[in-house]
Symmetry: C2
Subunit: 189 residues, 2 copies
DNA sequence: GAAAATATGGAGATCATCTCCATTTGTCAA
DNA sequence: TTGACAAATGGAGATGATCTCCATATTTTC
């Protein structure tokens, strides 16, 4: 959503339709088999409209990702409000693995489209990083985890989990990675 | 290298030239700004020759990656031969961070090109995974690390380190991730 | 040295992307 | 409710990158 002013109703409707259809096609794993023009058709808009809202596939992916991140941040706040800090962090990380597992196609497509921009990303990634930083900081304050590793390292690990979606043993390995990281965070206590 | 039979000398020469130039352009970060036809020109071959050896940019990336992996596997063997198992594992992981740090453009370009295929990859990735598995297994035998986490989890983390190359605090975070993983591996001892 | 097989390379065919602009739609004020 | 104005639309066609075909060149083997 542009920060400036709200879109006209028809523009908002079209943008929402594009994002919804994109999420669907991403999760089905079909996005790369489609011409972008044809994706516009699928979403019920013209090519000019598609390009006006999202000049690149990556721009579209960022918008889809933004929606995912919003949900994940809500989840993080929820956990912090209801669990002790260390448990909240653990639950959040394991919840992310569940989420990626439940939306494999989506995770795969987003990881691929955004492979060239994991760091200086849109608002989305910063918000997620802040949510993870808040979870880690709360656990540090509780004395439950070490204070010499920040959220950036956890984000990097989450990125690896998300980006390695197509490994055959992905689920078990992702669970193991979360275990290693949580144990590593508790290590020097 | 095809497993079947050796290439003719001129074909081998052209293939080597393509791979060498690709590595150079990848590390310079220019690959995505080039038309593939123009890359052929830069490498000193015709478009037909480029497409004959590497039908896609991803195919070219796999060949470049294969060279990187060969070097990394050599390094792993060297470390296993000269250090105690746990130290060899630690040195290898930290060495990978050094290597990625020294070849940022290369790591970035490879990660981007191969974003859609981290798992069922070419011979290259399997060889690296075997090398890491051997390092982990040796450390388990020494009783230095837990035996309930296999090399797949370590590979996933390494993937995250490599794929998150453009984060502003990349180096410090990568070092922290290796620390977390090593501490996590030692955790329940 | 000749024959056969394989490799080459670049013009041009193919195809996906992207833009332009005539037309349509939405919003707002009177 | 209507008209003016601004913004949005969409698709034909322009643009540009990819990819293939095949005449020619080179390598290999006997």
């Amino acid at each position: 959503m542009t920060a400036d002013k709200p879109l006209r109703a028809d523009a908002q409707r079209n943008r929402d339709a594009l994002i919804a259809k994109a999420r669907e096609v991403f999760d089905a794993g079909d996005f790369f088999d489609l011409r972008f023009d044809d994706f516009a058709r699928l979403a019920g808009v013209g090519t000019g409209t598609l390009y006006r809202h999202f000049p690149t596939r990556e721009a579209l992916a960022e918008a889809v990702y933004h929606g995912e991140v919003t949900a994940l941040c809500d989840r993080a706040r929820q956990l912090r409000a209801t669990l002790p800090a260390a448990e909240a962090l653990a639950a959040f990380l394991r919840g992310m693995v569940d989420h990626i597992d439940a939306h494999k196609g989506l995770a795969r497509t987003l990881a691929t489209l955004m492979a060239d921009r994991s760091g200086d990303l849109a608002e989305g990634s910063r918000a997620l990083e802040q949510a993870v930083a808040d979870l880690v900081a709360a656990a540090v304050r509780d004395g439950a985890v070490r204070d010499d590793v920040d959220a950036g390292a956890v984000m990097m690990v989450l990125h690896g989990i998300s980006a390695a979606h197509d490994r055959p043993g992905w689920r078990a390995e992702a669970d193991d990675v979360v275990t290693l990281v949580l144990d590593g965070l508790r290590r020097p206590l």
